[in-house]
Symmetry: D2
Subunit: 313 residues, 4 copies
């Protein structure tokens, strides 16, 4: 698992590429999931970025003084697109509306296609030509598809995998201003980041977002948290929630919902049933991805639902 | 399947309780899912509303001149709470975070509990006392949990079931201002409505919303639509989408996403892959329920994503 | 739901076609699922037997004196093939290895094909020509794909649906000598039978078995049973078990396994955990179908595992 | 990942513990999944073998001359129980009929219990005392729960995980006389074996088999195979099939069924639909486990179904 391009393709198993202090702001450059090599509608995704050389990660960044077992807060301070275009694909045996390696079928394969999404001049929206009709348009809604730490129990996982260590979550809430809470499994935490998205719908259904390179600024803090911390948590300006990872979607949802109920219970004094009632009447379920080796679901509640201060992990 | 209380408990198999003309506004009273009999925290949900006498439906309303095969648009013009309180429960063998009849386990059963949610004076929020701690609060966000027509192929289904005929969808978007599109399976369509909710989180995870009676005004129109119409569609002020019904969630999601892709393709001229790309980068996935005999998912896109006029069914 | 062909297409909603006494042997003729109209490799399955006119059922047979709530034992005494050939198909949007209505995709559709399976002279095996290579051969292993009673709670279901009322189970153990135990939901039980199979692999994966007409002899007894009876039970010469119905397979499996554990516990005095241990170390899991609207799983144990007499329901 | 006990807890990442030649018979001792430390009904499974120190593996055994990309045949020549007792447990948050880490719930936890299964004098059956009633009995049916090679793409996985590299499959067919075919992902293949079972029902539903130590003899051959080889294959005296791994069960089943169809097609000249028809009418579906991080399903056909010689990989 050499590091000669400056990018790596696994979570775990590397010496740190750099070291930062808790609370220190630092900059990273992240490549798109095709390593910047898929540059036109005529490109061949599986040739320019053959599996498993997809989703290059920047890192790992060692966080000074963090011990295995600590919880860290990864704050995304800013994300600046590094190019004026992003790229998206549909490929055979991939995506929600195709057979896949884990849900194969005997039908003829889905066609492959590439879309180049170009920024409008004000960089607030993107547009892509289509083969069949009018151009497509969408707002710029940046976030990191992949942020994770070295996995627990000495496992080494491919960069396309999500898990309790974070990883390829593809949850659209992970944009500028958001905080991702993760349990460090090794001293120094060993943070990896990549797979930036210029925009993505819920579920990343066709298999890719609008994939783009970024220059970003991050900060990592060591935080106190409740004993119930097990799965990643995400906090935005207005919402706070837990990420579940699993297959099928029902499994990921149960993980996230149970995690949120237990967390609310731990921080408010409500017992589990009362916290469950609160979640049931007020929670938002966001589907992150339904195309990775495991799926991801964020269950969150409005921070104003709880008394001030009670939601910080 | 008599109708002596004025309420029924099935989709299909009844003579109409009334007849309206397409385009005619009409009023309905709908009971809560416990028939208004669960009125205090000490109440016994399974005694006051024993299965299958839950979810009483108002109807069926015959729509004059509608033929089997036509598509109707059910417009929710207004919903006025008929009481100053709603009710929610957690019961054994029910809800996402318990074993259920279809996913049983051998653990000791979950406890039963009832919450009475009372409106604030301005009727813009509700509050419920808890056994264990501070009161719970949430905004008033009304919608109908159950709207459906007589099922296809001569089936008669219990009122707790969702399907391609609509039914117990529990999709929070179905509030005032929304339109639900359904295929009529019998002449006159035979519309049923009930199961009003004063508020509900995504998924109705604990098994009930804040259940409440309503006085509501509806209008049903007969509409032209594309040949691809198969599953219910929902249109709100800003979004338009397709509802999928199935288990597990993945199944419901595939139904909804495929339906939306095909619909966009049929109405815009984009081929399936270009429509898929649009959906993948811009769609919102809303989980309706994960507690009924089948689950429901709404996949929708912003109406401004498409050219004017192209989204009306 | 007229009955002018002598066959019906629903469970529930019919006047009895005949009445028998408990313990009385009686004969039935059952058509194949294509009503005998798909007779050559060039046939068009969806034209000769368009949905929902598939899976014609013989019945309903009223069982004299049986009351709603009683358990009946349906004994398959003999099955004689009514023709010297059976038929099987693969069709678009159907079967485990294709997208389906409930798990749609955007790939090009699977091709349609028909196989005519002809009996060997001794009627102990069947053989089918193929388009691409050598003929296929298999043993004759007859059973009824569909046996059920009128559903509970006044529902009427299509004949292709399995449920707690039995129905389109497609469990290969239901051949001559087997007994299917079902709860009567209406007085007289109203028994339906059809969808005979000359052979089928586990899961009926491509969507049909070797479909064939039968002349069969049955007997229905009213039996005493334990209070835990909820889902169908199947008893053969050597095994006894519980059928679970649901989606995904995990759901059907949990239903069946829990049912078997509770039954063993009720009949042996073992507590639930000890019964669970017995099941876990000795049970056989048989996948019935993975292609109907719900899937079916039989979890059974060897009758010699339990003390004599303790396994009869 | 030190190796000081002679046992390891991962697939991948180790120097070989020994080297053998293809075709050479060699002996291994394998510990039970609790490292032999759970010796009485009063034992504490989670104390004597705390996660992740469960399922100790013997190996890795390097196979001389095998290159990454080759397929190996692991032949189980004999298995001799190393003790006169085995052990089984039920634990909280584990097993099919309990909430688990990936399908959590809010019910009170399932109780913990230990069963010691002792061999009859002839070693052909085992018996366990129960807390609640009569003793349990079952036949001795030995197999290895876990056989695997170093994973692909540089991943390191915990020993409790199954995958395309084999691993914690828990498929009861893997007993004496069986052959497991695996793709080598690294030079030398690096074979791991452990988790022997004295008996297990389909699915290993309660979470453990009758866990026991073994002295076993193995042989590994390098074999030619078709290009379609992707997932593990198992061959016994009478059956030959493909193992699928995934969640939910439906996913594992689709993997296995598709693999078998493609293999038959590659080896017989039947096209995919004709091979699918053969599988659909004759296949056996065996559920391996439904309790590990991924589930396993073996879909197999009788070797006499195919012409002689055509089934060898």
């Amino acid at each position: 698992m050499s590091n000669d391009t400056g990018f790596v393709y696994h979570f775990g198993g590397h010496a740190p590429s750099r070291t930062v202090r808790p609370g220190e702001e630092f900059d990273v450059f992240t490549e798109d999931c095709f390593s910047g090599k898929l540059t036109s509608e005529d490109g061949q995704p599986r040739e320019v970025a053959p599996f498993p050389k997809v989703n290059p990660l920047t890192g790992p960044v060692e966080i000074e003084g963090v011990k295995a077992g600590d919880v860290i807060a990864v704050r995304i301070l800013s994300m600046i697109p590094a190019r004026d275009w992003g790229v998206a694909t549909v490929s055979p045996n991939f995506g929600l509306l195709s057979g896949t390696r884990l849900e194969p079928n005997l039908q003829p394969e889905q066609e492959e296609r590439v879309w180049i999404w170009r920024f409008a001049e004000d960089r607030r929206s993107l547009s892509a030509k289509t083969k069949s009709g009018p151009a497509l348009n969408t707002d710029y809604r940046p976030f990191f598809g992949t942020i994770g730490v070295a996995p627990a129990h000495g496992e080494t996982r491919l960069c396309v995998v999500p898990g309790d260590f974070g990883g390829n979550l593809d949850v659209p809430d992970l944009g500028p201003g958001a905080t991702l809470y993760l349990r460090a499994n090794v001293d120094g935490a060993h943070l990896y980041v990549g797979d930036g998205h210029y925009a993505q719908g819920d579920g990343e259904m066709a298999g890719t977002a609008i994939e783009g390179a970024f220059n970003a600024r991050l900060r990592v803090d060591r935080v106190e948290t409740d004993a119930a911390f097990e799965w990643p948590r995400i906090e935005t300006e207005t919402q706070t929630g837990v990420v579940g990872v699993g297959r099928p979607l029902d499994s990921a949802l149960k993980v996230a919902a149970t995690g949120l109920v237990k967390w609310i219970s731990a921080t408010t004094g409500l017992d589990a049933l009362d916290a469950y009632q609160l979640v049931s009447q007020t929670a938002t379920i966001r589907i992150g991805n339904v195309v990775n080796p495991d799926y991801t679901v964020l269950v969150s509640i409005s921070k104003r639902t709880l008394a001030e201060g009670s939601v910080s992990v």
